[in-house]
Amino acid sequence: MIVSIEKCMHCGACVGSCPQNAIYLNEIVLEFNENCNKCGRCVRLCPAGALKMEGKE
């Protein structure tokens, strides 16, 4: 997963919505762990449009 640090608003909407609990937000840095199965839910719902799936435009 690619996170745009310029766009991310550190709101945690992706963290609480992730069905795998695979995202962690420590103040400003978003981390994805190995449980991420690339379902893309966070990409769609990020209010800031800050997430992008690797290999996709």
Binding site: G12, A13, L45
Partner: protein, 395 residues
Amino acid sequence: MKTDYDVIVVGGGPAGSMTAKHAAKKGARVLMIEKRQEIGASLRCAEGVNKKGLAKAGVPVDKRWVSADIAGAKLVSPGGKVFRIDESQAGAEVGLVLERHLFDKAMAADAARAGAEIWLKTAAVDVIKEGDKVVGVKARREGEPITLTAGCVVAADGFESQVARWAGIDTSLKTGDITTCYQYRMANLKTEPDYCEFIIGSVAPGGYIWVFPKGDDTANVGIGVLASKLKKPGDVKMYLDKWIKKDPRLSCGQPVEAIAGGVSVSPPVEQSVMNGLILVGDSARIIDPITGGGIANGLLAGKFAGEVLGDCVQANDYSEAALMPYDKKWRDAMENRLWRNWMAKEKFLTLSDKTLDGVIDTLSTANVDKMSVHNILIAIKEKHPELVKEFEELI
């Protein structure tokens, strides 16, 4: 073995602070950890709360953390029909728009006065379990790993709700039960300074646009859209910007702050306690599924949790059975209402803009003098019984 603390609260929001305060008041050794460097910031909230909710939780109003006193609400339909509820004339308990930066700090200060310890820049990264029991948390304090043991851990980590899931309670949500939000605080507006406004329909699919006054010509202007209705990244902000551009009372304003966030609009969790763990506030999914409001419910749940934890400390028993009185207390206080409003949300999702215009139009002839979801549902039941027949027994 003596634990580091009796109670460790993860998260310094209103629910966490209330838990910490009430547990400490009853003699518990309490630590509250907050991952950010400032309690109450950054904001992720529209800041509306009703006075009755504060009173129920035993929080007296302090004008230092109030931005605006509200006279009533305006519900606006897609076609511009307006249903106005003026509470001041009914002498009813009215709403407030808070200054959460200050409110959250005031709640945490009360916890500190009751004897709770507070650590900032301390982020929980996991829970520690022994068998089926939570016995502490792993955290990073200013980047340094630290392990802390406790009789009971309190999951007060908000919408993220990770502590519960690390411990094994499934708080994950369906996309139809998640609202994603975007909000500007705007200045130089021409909206009414003492009315909260809710704009519904396809301008905010599955949610609504709000204008909550923040004093003078400022307001929180935000939007919530149901995650299942989103098509592409950034849709939420697009819907809000589009509306602001269209509404001349808003388009004359400028933003001074932008925030985002996620809100659960689901039924409450099935399990709010386990051995050594208790869930409070947004992490327990006790946000009102119709309004998205969670402050009052979080405060009340925190109060209940702290009181029950105080008893657990006296008995030195943090088992699921010992924590169950908390589960019962919050369910008695709010579970029926949460289910009713969730069912109402599910129904309203299916209504077209045209139907919503009709509903708002007939509602404006109904006699609703108090601003509450319940009173609005009563009026709908009277005027449009077909819309609420699946859950009429809860109204």
